[in-house]
Symmetry: C3
Subunit: 152 residues, 3 copies
Amino acid sequence: MKIEEKLKELKLELPPAPPLGGVYKPVVIVGKMLYVSGQGPMRLDGSKIIGRVGENMSLEEGYAAAKQVGLTMLSTIQSEIGDLDKIKRLVKTLGMVNCTPDFKSQPKVINGYSDLMGEVFGKDNGVGARSAVGMMLPGGIAVEIEAIFELY
Amino acid sequence: MKIEEKLKELKLELPPAPPLGGVYKPVVIVGKMLYVSGQGPMRLDGSKIIGRVGENMSLEEGYAAAKQVGLTMLSTIQSEIGDLDKIKRLVKTLGMVNCTPDFKSQPKVINGYSDLMGEVFGKDNGVGARSAVGMMLPGGIAVEIEAIFELY
Amino acid sequence: MKIEEKLKELKLELPPAPPLGGVYKPVVIVGKMLYVSGQGPMRLDGSKIIGRVGENMSLEEGYAAAKQVGLTMLSTIQSEIGDLDKIKRLVKTLGMVNCTPDFKSQPKVINGYSDLMGEVFGKDNGVGARSAVGMMLPGGIAVEIEAIFELY
């Protein structure tokens, strides 16, 4: 099944590809490796999900934000390479959570992204190596994720 | 000398490979490059080293935790690829320390990992490019490290 | 134009290549990919730019520190591979800002690095994929950046 059909079947809608937030390229391809810049959680209306998990955002809201980062990332990649079916698999993810110093469940937040990728690309190809950690994020967004994909 | 013999000579014992802590693969291989997911410091009994350097953990304890992350990572890789002798060299390390905002010696903490890798694989192959920085880590573990290795 | 001439034209002077701050290699090359270790902002006199953006350092000072990280990185690479003209393009940057929990403009800080790379290597080759985030940095330096370049 094509990824676009898969997204429809899963009733997933991609937000618009986010505008550039600085001096960078959304995606750089070297050989078969696609490096995607850190993506934030963009809603369908183009607004961003803001918040700090453990302070004014629950674990469940963080999970939902991480899923939205995944949809935003797919939108970015689609807008850059034209066709998500060129993606062979997810290689590596750095999942960054805007959280309090005492928050301890960054992996459960980033699972929102990883579960999505597993559904869209299948568990073999959609699940990669990963780190899920906490730091300070631009614009106060709840989650930021950068990733490396392998192309066909 | 085989890596397994080298570990014995250095009197280093690998902890059990850690159970999955989320939706990810412990290791992803693309061509000759092996990406290993962020690893925490697991003791031989399977418990994790918890703490924040600069708060309730000294630099020396942080160094020991980073060394234990290295042993945990070797255990993970061995369990995934079967044989540590397939590793040619360490390419790149992101060393993440759970520390207070004013702690300044993240590199000295992560040296615990880097010294170990240098002993096990030799200084030419066991020492790679590196960043050593501070952030919030899952489960309150003291150190987390992700790395890229090159295989033979 | 050669990069060395370009630097002169832009009136940019490289600081000395920084001494090793731990157990790592400044640069590791695998095939055509060059991985450069996290670099701090070193002045021409070899001193480091210390500070936390949002606390005792302004956005503009952060931007200047990130630019200085870029010059430091070029010095490191030149000292390791001999000739900056071997660089084809910047692939990926992880820009790390020492900032307060409430600082939100990490991308504007890291633009100091990205603008420099764009000037030196041109916008096509000098601008890559990027994340710009906040964390705790060694020695209290204001900015640390690690990057991957592609060589000719």
